[in-house]
Amino acid sequence: MAAVRTSSEIGFNRAAIVAVLVVTIIFLAPIYWIASTAFKPRNLATTIPPTVVFQPEISPFVKLFAKRSQLRSPPTPEEYAAAPWWERVVFNGGEKIVRDGKGEVQWSGYPSRFMNSLIVAITSTVLAVGMGTFTAYGFSRFRVKGEADLLFFILSTRMLPPVVVAIPMFLMYRAVGLNDSHLGLIILYTAFNLSFSVWLMKGFMDEIPKEYEEAALVDGYTRMEAFFKIVLPEAATGIAATAVFCFITAWNEYAFALIMTSRRAQTAPPFIPSQVGSGLPDWTVIAAGTFLFLLPVAIFTFLLRNHLLRGMSFGAIRK
């Protein structure tokens, strides 16, 4: 690096900063749109031109979590006065919260769908990354007969868009009773992510000098112990990066979730658009559901950001 910067270099730097800002704004605009809509009153959600300044409301989230029905007549003043604040915001929208015979508030379908998403995405990520790490280690460290062909075969599973096998998969799943089950989706997502995970992890494994394990082997450790004590900590960066990518894929998957699940194991992506409200589409509720849905990936990625930065540039640094 030159210590002295020429004016053209400074100019280039400034242009680059502006370009990065513009791109960032373009990328963040939809997220702002979703987030702001999630806090808007219903009547401001679809105004033209869009409302930018408004009094944020929590009502979309209340409506998201509670089961509602249309009010036939406005609530009486006594009813209104007796209701807690979160019920009043629903009354204001011309709806009421559905309660069972004992007066318990009924949940909407969203929390269980959200849980389904978490269960399926986390389990399939753990499985895909775990199996991928072991497989990659094997390919990286041992002479495997037909290694190149096997690796190509693993990669070839990604050469078609997965949706092309949706119908046969659906028929097979129905035959063995895996449709609308967590296990069914977990198997599918694990299978989709595995090839990616093997290839990515192989790159990371190849980067770890095999001398580390050999030193451990000679020191009296078994291959397994050497793997867990030495290789795994060294591979943490790769595992984190792979896990984020697998998690995002599984978390966002829409087509198979839509086809394979209906109630019990339905994940959030096919559920959110189906809840367009009990009357006209309530975009604020959809936005609230989407907004919450974005959070886990954002948090996960944020927690692993240091690993990811190294992961993105793997191969480029340290040799």
Binding site: Y212, E214, V218, D219
Partner: protein, 367 residues
Amino acid sequence: MAHIQLKNISKSFGNHTALIGLNLEIADGEFFVLLGETGAGKTTTLRMIAGLEKPSEGQVFIDGVDVADWGAAERDVALVLQQYSLYPRYTVRENLEFPLKPKIRRLPDAEIKDRVDRAARTLRIEHLLDRKTDRLSGGEMQRVSIGRAIVRKPRVFLMDEPLSALDAKLREALRTELKNLQMQLGATFLFVTHDQIEAMSMGDKVGVLNHGRIVQTGTPQEIYNNPRDTYVASFVGSPPMNLIDGRLVDNRAVMAPMNFELPFSGGARTSWGLDTGGATDGRPLVFGIRPEDVYLESGAPVEARVHDVENHGVEKILTLRVGDTMLRATVPARTDVEIEQPVRFAWNPDKVVLFDKGSGVSLRHAS
């Protein structure tokens, strides 16, 4: 401490043959240096003794026991590599403790602490114990690597070019330290290197490896003074031995193609078991002479021109030119010579080594 024997070892990787019919014996408490160029099969030999590689053929014995079925862990050897043998996430202390903590021979904590402290004292790295290994210099790292080996009191120390990545000064210092350490521990060392100076200065015994075969085994003096063939002669020694084609005629060595002659009579001749009558005369030979046994003298038999002068402080290394033939001579630094100056030189006939021209094998080793 252990005695190691390799019997008829061959090793191939796919189509590539790394070792062919290797026989090697390392005595208990010996500092054995395996010397060879890159790709000669040194590291493969080492890895087979360590149990990291299986021989395609042949057997490895440790203390007379065939260890074919023993894994690396059971062989109880220590390995020091050129690099990458320290764990970057661990501190120096954790690195030193690591070999003492495997399940199969886990030591009590007090013993671990005691051994680590003792090793640190021996290697003078006590002040580094709490440092992360990525904050160490090259020399410190290699000290810790050696520390990792000595804490365990293994049966054999295997060292794969442990000094090659270091700068010259440090290499020299660690060379002495390592040799002292070996004598202090009385341990069996197998040290692999491509650096003949390391081999000569450290080894009790040296094995020269070329293209997967052991060419010669012996003390450094034997290897230096009596190389088995022209490969060893040119590989060992710096500058290497002069090798000149020629033949014996009467009591003279007649060099081809430039036809200069040097005396080779009496004692020199009989020491090679050659008859004095001249019956072996005319056989194509290669004459080997070390640069320090070539000397300049005003009345000497051959005239040459000084082609090049390298000043090494205590001595100068001259390259002499006779026609197209070049040969090196080591002379005291005070000798005043200039490039292209005509000089006269002779050799010490008792130090000449005769090689067969065809096979390159020394006449002394041929039978």
